[in-house]
Assembly symmetry: C2
Homo-oligomer: 229 residues x 2
């Protein structure tokens, strides 16, 4: 057993990171939620320096916001950021899906089909957080097929931020991806048809953004709205 202190602490760091990250993605931690260092230390029985590093990592991915001397909160994307995030997502995911079409093997396509199946089942179930995560999973699996870790990681960040946006502007969480549109993209990928896959993906993402924008045409829910005034 190689139990070097350094590795243990790295493991603990990743564990805490994943816990908080998952909490945000599952919307147990909603945008604006405060993340006090002391509380996190106690919850994970970790030292403050460890918690601090985790928060900085999360901040770097724009999933939490670090306000100097005022602590960390779950990030709350502004409308302008929302615009940029969706624009960036279309650009990135268009490029990724084209590359995926070039590289996808039959085994890869099988994997995606299985993913579609899981999605289909989750649609009927009522586990809302699971469904929300699955919607992202499909996109990330396609991205992985592009065989470019850099673009893939950029998309991971963007998709995470999209989840924040949905949490902010779609409190009911009914702004998930449409299952059928995913299926169409897989069909294109199977034929190696990158152009049409990219076109479908673009439409799919425009649809997703429109769904959100229609509900909140120009601003984030203000405190006034949230109080029902």
């Amino acid at each position: 057993m190689d139990e070097r202190v350094t590795e243990e602490s790295l493991e603990a760091e990743n564990r805490i990171y994943a816990r908080i990250f998952d909490g945000i993605m599952d919307r147990r931690l909603t945008p604006g939620t405060k993340l006090p260092e002391r509380e996190l230390c106690e919850l994970f029985s970790a030292s403050r320096s460890l918690v601090r590093r985790v928060l900085q990592r999360l901040a770097h991915y724009h999933v939490v916001e670090l306000r100097p001397n005022r602590g960390a909160i779950v990030a709350t994307p502004t409308p302008e950021e929302t615009r940029q995030i969706f624009q960036a997502r279309r650009a990135l995911e268009g490029a990724l899906v084209r590359l995926a079409a070039q590289h996808a093997t039959p085994a890869d396509i099988d994997g995606l089909r299985q993913q579609l199946h899981v999605e289909h089942e989750a649609m009927h179930g009522s586990d809302q957080p699971a469904w929300a995560r699955l919607a992202s999973t499909f996109h990330l699996r396609v991205a992985r097929l592009a065989n470019n870790a850099i673009l893939e990681n950029y998309l991971k960040e963007i998709v995470s931020r999209c989840s924040l946006i949905v949490a902010l502007y779609e409190p009911q969480g009914n702004a998930a991806c449409e299952h059928d549109e995913h299926a169409g993209i897989v069909a294109c990928l199977e034929r190696g048809d990158g152009e049409n896959a990219a076109r479908l993906m673009e439409e799919h993402l425009v649809e997703l953004e429109r769904h959100i924008c229609l509900r909140q045409p120009d601003a984030r829910p203000s405190l006034k709205d949230r109080l029902g005034l």
Copy 2:
């Protein structure tokens, strides 16, 4: 004078960050160079925690590599990373230049023309580091016109990593961008012709990659090569 301790230290952090970053971009700090904490502390008369944070930030942008228990070095992209970086750059910069074509005002075009002029002058001068940085500057200025900070920052990171690649595989530093190709892109932008601007940019980047790949077909200079054996 609002001299809060916190702000001062943030300023210091940015200063140190910029110094190291510039040193790497100007190839005074070449890939593989060790960056010992103690030495940096003394050089900048800063505390270790500050230096540490700067190194972590640089690591996050993949400009330095943090090896656990073994300190930080200037990053040395592998051939596979190089492939991914150039691929990502084509994808990102293609999208950015299309957006730039949509948004560029006559004043923006003027600014780019001035930039071209500066490039032209630097070509005749012999200030090599300045020339290397100018090549990147043009691309980043175009990116800024896209009006999307997220994609712009991604490109910033990618361009920085490209500089590392050039430093690694083109020790003479003669793999800079061609001035004429930049001029062609500006012409397209002026006409609002995003498609052709993107096409030229793509060709321009392929040319840049080819220039590097031709010299080092498949591997980074090994220690053996560097010793002339």
